[in-house]
Symmetry: C2
Subunit: 456 residues, 2 copies
């Protein structure tokens, strides 16, 4: 791991601890170890690479002033900082590669203000709690991960790309989906910066390497009464075709369209009756007033609705979105520990043909799972197919075979920003921005591989 070695520098934790006296910390080894992990173990490769990585201390700021004190002390004593929200990421975003501290941001969870169409919220707020607070005013977040009940908004923006809602609003990187971010720089005298509009892209999906996010201004969507639906189909291709038609139907208000090939629905132990054995399906979230129109699509394409009920809210609820996106993989892993997954982006201009090629190329080794999304203003699909894992070589071969067919891969089996992107390089703006806000390279060191501190 040469990238880690570059950050394998001495730091003075004792002096750091003294400098932040009064700010809550966690030093108990098991707790520190738990807070040093996320869901990277979805990947057998990351499991090997990251299994032994951990911080020495967890620091739990209560407000932005605490974050500033932590950043100042860390800069002074050269202590690496790995910011962490709910720890629901899948790429080791929140795993410290070079020791130091994990900065647990969940104490900063206040909603600062709600205006029509806009919320200003602290980075550590749980996304479920945000939606609960918004609901009485008739608003909701535009999109959320399948881990909405435990993920923080800061973690989603820093480590995610999109999710439930992206079929309407596109991903987090689309202009307008993150209105502003407030960050603390990692310097002896930290600055607090407000990044607006295009400037806020500097912190999006940067794993916290480009500043410690303390607050976000996020756009809202008008709240709809959502329905969870399962449509059983005779084939995966039929589920894809049906979902694609619904995805393209701009008159239908929707939040989720997830085609799954059998046996994937069989992994959902808590949802047995909704998913008929042996059948592929489409999971959908449709606004109640659009139900009749969605049913017309289902009828025209020969699907069978086997489940339809309001999306449940609150503790104990089992919303169907917890069978989609990266939760699908989690359910499969609970049944078969040898399963892993990939993340592919299909070409919008030949979507169904491309999906069909991939779905038939690998036999039982690949179990197809799509998520319809908007990407760059066009409807397309992300593939989060399940893979029956054999060797690292074969896994990488599968990824390469996708790319050879024109399907982009965002590799979830690597832990650096560069290796994980479709373009295999750092965002140039983010790299440049990092020099301004983290000149010593203390923020989540090793994740932005191409960054080298100026003085070294």
């Amino acid at each position: 791991m040469p990238v880690t070695a570059a950050f394998d520098r001495p730091y003075d934790l004792a002096s750091f601890s003294g400098a932040i006296a009064g700010i809550p910390v966690i030093a108990e080894p098991l707790q520190v170890r738990l807070k040093s992990r996320d869901f990277f173990w979805y990947s057998p490769l990351l499991k090997d690479a990251l299994g032994d990585k951990q911080a020495e201390l967890v620091v739990c700021p209560r407000d932005e002033a605490d974050v500033v004190r932590v950043a100042a002390a860390a800069a002074r004593f050269r202590v690496p900082i790995t910011p962490r929200g709910g720890g629901t990421g899948n790429y080791g975003q929140a795993v410290p590669l070079a020791g130091g501290i994990v900065l647990d941001m969940t104490g900063l969870d206040a909603i600062e203000r709600v205006e029509p169409g806009v919320i200003r919220v602290q980075a550590g707020a749980i996304m479920e709690n945000i939606d609960t607070a918004l609901r009485p005013a008739g608003w909701e977040q535009r999109m959320h991960p399948s881990t909405k009940r435990t993920a923080t908004i800061g973690g989603f923006v820093a480590g995610g790309s999109g999710g439930i809602g992206s079929i309407t609003y596109g991903g987090l990187r689309e202009l307008g989906n993150v209105l502003a971010a407030r960050i603390v720089t990692a310097e002896p005298e930290p600055r607090v910066l407000e990044l607006r509009d295009a400037d806020a892209l500097a912190i999006n999906h940067a794993y916290g390497t480009t500043g410690i996010i303390t607050a976000l201004e996020m756009p809202l969507a008008p709240l709809w009464p959502w329905l969870d639906l399962v449509v059983a189909t005779d084939s995966f291709a039929q589920a894809v075709h049906l979902g694609y038609r619904a995805a393209l139907a701009d008159g239908i208000v929707k939040k989720l369209l997830t085609p799954l090939a059998w046996p994937v629905p069989g992994y959902f132990r808590h949802f047995k009756s909704e998913f008929p054995a042996g059948r592929s399906c489409l999971i959908a979230m449709i606004a109640e007033p659009s139900l009749a129109s969605f049913k017309a699509v289902v009828a025209a394409e020969g699907g069978e609705i086997t489940y339809c009920a309001p999306t449940p809210e609150g503790s104990g609820a089992r919303p169907l979105y917890e069978c989609t996106w990266n939760h699908t993989t989690l359910h499969a892993l609970k049944v078969d520990r040898r399963i892993t997954y990939l993340q592919a982006l299909y070409p919008a201009d030949r979507l169904e043909a491309s999906v069909s090629e991939i779905a038939t190329q690998f036999g039982e080794e690949l179990e197809p799972h799509l998520e319809f999304i908007r990407f760059g203003g066009r409807v397309t699909a992300s593939g989060l197919h399940l893979i029956h894992y054999s060797t690292p070589e074969r896994l990488n071969e599968i990824l390469a075979l996708h790319e050879a067919r024109g399907v982009s891969i965002a590799n979830p089996h690597v832990f650096t920003l560069e290796d994980g992107t479709r373009h295999k390089r750092a965002d140039a703006d983010q790299l440049g921005f990092k020099h301004r806000v983290d000149p010593l390279g203390l923020l989540n060191p090793g994740k932005m591989r191409s960054f080298v501190p100026a003085g070294r």
Copy 2:
């Protein structure tokens, strides 16, 4: 006009009038003539073809029971019925080709009910009044024509295709954009039918030939505070590119994106200061919370915002949407009576190249005007270019040259449904449906050219 001749049959207006005694009528010749016209005179060809067409009587039903009585009497005495809303169409939709009566539907203007996301409203309600009634509850219509202040919802659905709002929701034909229609059949014993979802397509853009629409169930959009904007650009291509980027930006909530080539903005006499002389522009309606994101697109593309203010409401207001869609043509006609227009649909997969080809092919004869829309789930543009008219032959040549370049034409210089469509044929479902609801061919006779009553 052979198509008219087919309906040039004797009818007994005196007996019809006796049979509908008690229902208000207008017989005063000037009023009858005015109510027999719409905005067909945008087209010099339709001006010649339809200038002398008119009804003998205008009948003004007060409720659905009146409509049923009129339909029964008309069937009994073979009187042609041309339903009419606000008379804001441009293709002679409301012009009677075979005399008979104009059925003025504006008396049926009640809002029957508003539910979250859905309104049930009588066909003759003015669309401006519908939005005014919806606003306090936080809803608005998904789309409306530029004539919202005078158009009826029934006329829009029966004679229109889309408009302001179609950049988000697509056109009226998209599944989910008309939830249900209630119609009265033209038979001696009229039936009242409720058409839902896909079945409601039978009355969409059929000019009232497939039943007399008395009520509609329409989906609603959450109300946003809208801003009117003008962005001045250095070229038309720049306005198109900027508008296209905004159209594709799913994170920006928008209702209208209208690129106009200079000298088109020069025709807006009431809006001089907003439109700098000599410059092409983009007119936009953007939701207030998305303004900063839209400004970021404008800045990135080098446009200059010359006007930005809340979309005005109420009498005396001058919303910018009254410079767009078919209102653009109206403003131009007020300056130069030789101007006419066309309606083109550009291919989504090579939009900018295709627009550029057309914009440069005709020199000053064609002044470009686009409307960005979603069509079949894809962002594309409708062209409503202004044409400096010379001869019918040249006009038809211009249309043919569009089609030769792969740009579809919905010809606004013909008055039959078939000739006006991109496919030059009647909708097969509508044609079949007409046999069931208007077996005698009394509804707006001559407009569905391919219909021949079964008994003849």
